[in-house]
Symmetry: C2
Subunit: 268 residues, 2 copies
């Protein structure tokens, strides 16, 4: 679903990470998304189906088409949906810049964790607007890696996160896209644009988030670009390893951390 190299890779650990993230954060991100019975919904960039399961579950009578540009991801998503027993999702392999759908053929479009990986997110939104009927809605959920901070924070932990941001930028994406969702969706021609931040705040009193988000989602994502960061000379190994250790330190007793997702809704 991306025209840039996919920064997260496609390993088993990555799939587990994305699944953890979808589980722990599903209420925060998705509790206010429900599509009516019979409505025709396009999920663009379904990946291996982590969000597809949530969509199918929260809108059981909507007719959902979930697409991704990678056949292997689409097959994995299909298996996941079948295993979960949902019958309201059709799958398709397609590219967002060349959508194989009629204009104005969907009532709603749903996009989650896609635009950050695209070099032309505005063009992608234009393309999605084309297949949406007038009066239909779009929902876009993206993270913003620059929104992360922790206590205690160190220069090295900040630098490791900055490496992820820079690598994603070099690969053609923008991991700071959350903060610019509003102007992007406005510029793509949508109206009634509303953006709400969804902050994940983690401290000792929220151990499930320490595991599911801090360790298994965010730090795992940063750790995933270690070799890239070192081979590109963005940081040396000692600083990297200290930065990662410092991030883990902030997940221990007395530590806190924050990360913010942004959810945009708008109408064509």
């Amino acid at each position: 679903m991306s025209d840039a190299a996919y920064v997260h890779g496609y390993s088993v650990r990555e799939a587990a990470r994305l699944s953890d993230q979808a589980g722990a954060l599903s209420r925060l991100l998705h509790h206010d998304t429900h599509y009516p019975a019979g409505s025709h919904v396009l999920e663009c960039g379904c990946g291996t189906g982590a969000q597809t399961v949530l969509l199918a579950s929260s809108s059981p009578e909507a007719r959902i088409v979930s697409m991704d540009m990678l056949p292997a991801s689409v097959e994995e998503a299909r298996r996941r949906i079948e295993a979960a027993g949902f019958g309201n999702v059709a799958f398709q392999t397609a590219n967002v810049y060349n959508l194989p759908f009629n204009q104005r053929s969907f009532d709603h479009v749903f996009v989650c964790f896609l635009l950050e990986h695209l070099s032309r997110p505005l063009q992608a939104l234009h393309a999605l607007r084309q297949v949406l009927r007038p009066g239909g809605s779009i929902t876009v959920i993206e993270g913003d890696h620059g929104s992360w901070y922790c206590h205690p924070q160190t220069p090295e932990s900040s630098r490791t996160v900055q490496c992820l941001i820079e690598i994603q930028a070099r690969l053609g994406g923008d991991s700071l896209i959350g903060r610019r969702l509003y102007p992007l969706v406005v510029e793509a021609g949508f109206r009634q644009v509303h953006v709400s931040p969804r902050m994940v705040y983690v401290d000792d009193s929220r151990p499930e988030l320490v595991e599911a988000f801090s360790k298994n989602t965010f730090i795992a994502m940063v750790e995933g670009v270690r070799e890239q960061a070192l081979s590109w000379g963005l940081i040396d190994a000692n600083a990297w390893d200290k930065g990662i250790a410092d991030m883990y330190r902030a997940t221990e007793s007395g530590g806190t951390s924050c990360y913010t997702f942004f959810k945009a809704t708008a109408v064509k």
Copy 2:
């Protein structure tokens, strides 16, 4: 109310800024704070009374004692409360480290925008715990200047904000205190500690926040340390002025910004 130099100064513009902030952000920060009739409430660090008015209004039958270490601020707060017609607030000039109250004499303690200016916030919380009755509550609201980011962001805008953070640190305070409220309040011996982040997200669709928060609160606060930053050699004038201009740019069409306050509640 601080043992460190007060980074915000005491000018007329500062008073207006603090008043703006109290007005625009009062719902976000204070909507869930109400004290019962007859309860004895200590507001520690009332300054010129911006929050005192909100407290007196939302808890009209509580008996509030508002204190600050600066007699001039206390007098201004007293005039403000009298002008607003509230009769449920008594004022006192006192220092948080040497509280002139009996142990266990308050049902509730309220602290807002105070700890960031103290060199010994933990000791202050210990002192406040002493004057609280067992089972009484404490509420602490603080900002975190490191939580700020915007779009479009530039190296210079980041540096100007970093100057404010560094100046406040050199003056003995900690403007990153929001993220460490949880461990501080826990370490001070309180229980049932709960921290909730309160993010101010600003885009074109929220013009009142552009004015009241982005321009008249946050950027005004950063601008307030210009001379200090230059005289201490933290930044040169050109970079400073570009940084401020870039921050204003992010308040214009297509720009966004985020800042997070943290609210802790706990029980003795």
